[in-house]
């Protein structure tokens, strides 16, 4: 090979880079240019081979011909093999090569004065540099490169081709032209297989099948997306309030799904058979008064709402002789349905499915959301990733800007603090403050638990209170008040204590809330299961406990972390209560639906109030700025319509 090698090392020539020497990070750049070199060489060699053949046909000496030809072909083939070796192409997908070539041709075509973005990475390597364009923009080169890209696409299967095209950061028009060009092999392929008529028929049939499946898949996907409930409402909430509020509503939707699943199982396997074969009541049914909806006792006691009512025997076809509790002699051909077994299996299966689903989704989202090294580089991540593009209202956008500004200032302050390390005295003081706050919170939790315990003991001891229905409401009221008041105290304490990172603050707050709720719940459970059961005789203990659980409803207020915790608390109660009352998931579903609509309306109202407030503020500002002139500000209705367009 007489021609000297033109080794083009594509070191970018942007102004900032001129002083840089190739570092170890540039290895893929070297690969890239090497690959390019090999390609160009192989093309050049192929051309040279042709020329040589032409020349040799004129010249004499067949020996030279035979000598030269295998060498040429070998060198071309060798180069081609070398070009596809893993050492040349490791870590890089074919798409990267294709895209790279195509991007260069695109920019050549654009002939923009400013160098545009020349490289995009589809590989895992993070250190590819940009490619500056110092190539000679000849049309022939563009054509070659485009044909190379098209050839590469043609060698892929249709689905893979579409997948690759979709992932390329090119404009839609270019993608369409590429797709058109790479579509021709169908004709070629058919032409190649044109020998057997059967083969072409098969091929066409297969192609038609693939197309039909493809369109079916697309239709299914769009259908599924259209079916998701509340899609538009969630989009509006996301647009008005951002992703964090949206995540609360998504969590609510997930809980609804869990409850619906549980309800389905229970209705199908436990309530259904029981309703179909009702047992005889022990005495006359009590009269229903209005208080049942709150207390859950009274005329509800002997219905399918509570497991105490369910038979603990095997259900059969209706017996000839009416017996209570003892076995009926089964008629010929009747299928026995063992209620206790059904209860055990259904509840067990429901919990098992819920547990598996939860664990799977947790693992899945953890895999998606955990990033190695995510604690470092917090400034860059905040700047690049914190803007929520879903926001569509100006006010929400301004709120986001405020939040980001506050966060940046906090980050900078923390960074300053870390630069100047605290003295031993300061650290001791910080530790003391933290310890005191924790002590107070734990003390609050303990105090609440003791209060609940003492109060329930008092209720048991006093004989007249035990009999009345309304007195049953007092304990839940007390517990509710404690649940309202204690978290506020914890929040006040959290505001006073010093913390290094806001994330830690949130975790500490969640922990404290959880400890408080667990303490109260634990006391109540102990009280119900341990003490009251021992005291009261003759009443089914499951009924009493399930009655108690039905009472625990109160109206929550909106603050994202607290409301998420409320949802979790309510769901825990439901899952505990399912052991005692099968209709509790239905009650929980109704409650969640109510919460969804109430909160949505509440947020809309808050949003409206904020909007009116901002209108008022703007009006005030305008009036202040026009002091001294006789001009009037715009009429309020016009201002309102203007704001409504936001």
């Amino acid at each position: 090979m007489a021609q000297p090698l033109a080794f083009i090392l594509d070191v970018p020539e942007t102004p900032g880079d001129q002083s840089q020497e190739p570092s170890p990070y540039d290895e893929s750049e070297v690969h890239d240019s090497f690959h390019q070199l090999i390609q160009e060489q192989s093309q050049w060699v192929a051309q040279e081979g042709l020329e040589l053949q032409q020349r040799e046909q004129e010249a004499t000496g067949s020996g030279q011909q035979t000598l030269r030809r295998p060498e040429d072909t070998q060198s071309t083939a060798t180069l081609r093999i070398l070009a596809s070796m893993p050492s040349r192409t490791i870590g890089r997908s074919r798409g990267a090569i294709i895209s790279q070539y195509y991007s260069r041709t695109v920019q050549l075509r654009r002939r923009s004065s400013r160098p545009l973005l020349g490289n995009f990475v589809l590989s895992a390597r993070p250190t590819l540099r940009l490619y500056d364009l110092e190539l000679d923009p000849t049309a022939r080169e563009e054509e070659e490169k485009q044909s190379l890209l098209v050839k590469e696409l043609q060698s892929l299967a249709v689905a893979q081709r579409d997948h690759m095209l979709r992932g390329m950061p090119l404009s839609l028009a270019e993608k369409r032209s590429l797709r058109e060009k790479s579509r021709t092999p169908m004709g070629k392929w058919r032409g190649q297989r044109g020998g057997g008529g059967l083969c072409s028929c098969c091929g066409r049939l297969r192609y038609a099948c693939v197309l039909a499946l493809h369109s079916l898949g697309l239709a299914l996907l769009s259908g599924l997306q259209a079916l998701t409930p509340w899609r538009y409402a969630l989009k509006r909430i996301g647009g008005q309030f951002g992703s964090s509020v949206l995540s609360y509503f998504l969590f609510l939707k997930t809980l609804l799904a869990f409850n619906a699943l549980l309800l389905l199982l229970l209705v199908a396997f436990i309530m259904g058979p029981q309703v179909a074969f009702p047992p005889t009541l022990p005495g006359p049914a009590p009269v229903c008064t209005g208080l049942e909806l709150l207390t859950g006792t009274g005329c509800f006691t002997h219905t399918v709402m509570f497991y105490g009512h369910y038979s603990n025997a095997t259900l059969n076809q209706p017996c000839g002789s009416p017996l209570d509790g003892s076995q009926c002699t089964p008629r010929a051909g009747g299928l026995p349905y063992n209620m206790p077994l059904a209860y055990l299996y259904t509840v067990g299966a429901g919990f098992f499915i819920t547990c598996i689903t939860l664990v799977y989704s947790m693992a899945h989202s953890f895999g998606e959301s955990y990033r190695v090294g995510s604690t470092s580089g917090i400034h860059a991540i905040t700047i690049f990733c914190s803007w929520d593009y879903k926001v569509t209202q100006k006010r929400a956008s301004r709120l986001q800007q405020d939040n980001i500004r506050t966060r940046l200032k906090e980050l900078l302050a923390e960074w300053q603090l870390r630069q100047s390390p605290r003295s031993v005295c300061g650290r001791l003081r910080q530790a003391a403050a933290l310890g005191l706050a924790w002590l107070l919170c734990l003390g609050t939790a303990l105090g609440c638990a003791v209060a609940v315990h003492v109060f329930s003991e008092f209720l048991i001891q006093s004989p007249e209170a035990a009999g009345q229905e309304a007195a049953l409401l007092v304990l839940p009221l007390v517990v509710g008040l404690l649940n309202l008041g204690a978290p506020y105290l914890c929040r006040v304490l959290a505001a006073l204590e010093p913390h290094d990172s806001p994330v830690l603050e949130v975790y500490v707050a969640i922990c404290r809330n959880l400890i408080l709720k667990l303490a109260i719940l634990g006391t109540l459970c102990y009280h119900w299961l341990g003490r009251r059961v021992a005291v009261l005789q003759g009443q089914c203990w499951e009924e009493i406990i399930s009655e108690k659980k039905l009472k625990r409803r109160r109206k929550p207020e909106f603050d994202i972390a607290r409301n998420v915790l409320e949802l979790i608390y309510g769901q825990t109660l439901t899952w505990l209560g399912v052991l005692f009352s099968p209709l509790l998931p239905a009650v929980q579903i109704i409650k969640l639906l109510l919460v969804f609509y109430i909160k949505k309306e509440g947020e809309d109202k808050i949003f409206l109030i904020n909007k009116l407030h901002s209108i008022y503020e703007r009006k005030e500002r305008e009036e202040r700025s026009r002091v001294g002139t006789t001009e009037e500000t715009a009429a309020p209705p016009a201002l309102l319509t203007e704001e409504r367009d936001d």
């Binding site: 995009f120 250190t127 579409d162 860059a380 700047i383 690049f384 914190s386 940046l408 200032k409």
Partner: protein, 231 residues
């Protein structure tokens, strides 16, 4: 591209579905949103006596879930308006119209987004296919790779292929608000940019290139979910 109106729309729709990350409903919706103002005049001329056009198109914008309605309107329009739809697909929509969409109106990066996705020579208008590109990149199912690529281009205010200090400071100003009272102070800005370059500039050249940017992005799990626009 020829043949009867209905076949054209199906083929074109399928092609758009294959080449972008959008679903059929989203594509038809965006047809409505972008092309409706162009088609209103044509429709009013062509269907002076038709009851179908009782409701003006302008009402059918993003204020209601209208995938099926948009589809119906598109099909109604298509047989008679085939030529104008074809032309409309190639028509260039000026930036003002795109920027007035509610999805983009409140976004501080709206001008940059329009400029990045525009393929016109003067880069001041978007064709319908550019708009589809935009929606595709910002959709749910787009890969993080393509999102980070376009995010880099959006943040590159001077279009030189890297993020230098000037780009970063303009980016921070967009994020915090342009007003005098909302900007960071000069010392804070300098400190912040120093920290960002410290954390993300691996080759220490004073700028952030695409790979370094993508490396930073890959460390954040929130990027893919926040870099989304839903039509």
């Amino acid at each position: 591209m020829g043949g009867s109106g209905s076949r054209l729309s199906k083929e074109l729709l399928a092609e758009y579905q294959d080449l972008t990350f959008l679903t059929k409903q989203e594509i038809l919706l965006s047809v409505h949103v972008v092309l409706a103002p162009h088609l209103v005049d044509n429709e009013q001329q062509a269907r002076s006596g038709n009851e179908h056009t009782g409701k003006p198109i302008a009402e059918n914008t993003n204020s209601s879930p209208l995938s099926t309605r948009a589809h119906r309107r598109f099909c109604e329009l298509l047989p008679q308006e085939q030529r104008s739809v074809e032309e409309s697909l190639l028509a260039q929509v000026p930036f003002e119209q795109i920027l007035s969409l509610p999805e983009l109106k409140a976004n501080p990066f709206k001008e940059r987004i329009c400029r990045v996705f525009s393929t016109s020579p003067t880069r001041d208008s978007l064709s319908f296919e550019d708009f589809l590109d935009l929606l595709s990149v910002f959709s749910d199912t787009a890969t993080p790779d393509i999102k980070s690529h376009y995010a880099f281009r959006i943040f590159d205010f001077d279009d030189d292929g890297t993020l230098n200090r000037e780009d970063l400071s303009r980016l921070v100003n967009c994020l915090t608000g342009e007003g005098e009272d909302t900007r960071l102070s000069a010392s804070e800005m300098k400190q912040l940019i120093d920290n960002i370059l410290e954390e993300s500039d691996i080759d220490r050249d004073g700028t952030i290139n695409l790979s370094e940017f993508q490396h930073v992005i890959s460390r954040s799990p929130d990027f893919a979910s926040s870099f989304k626009i839903v039509l």
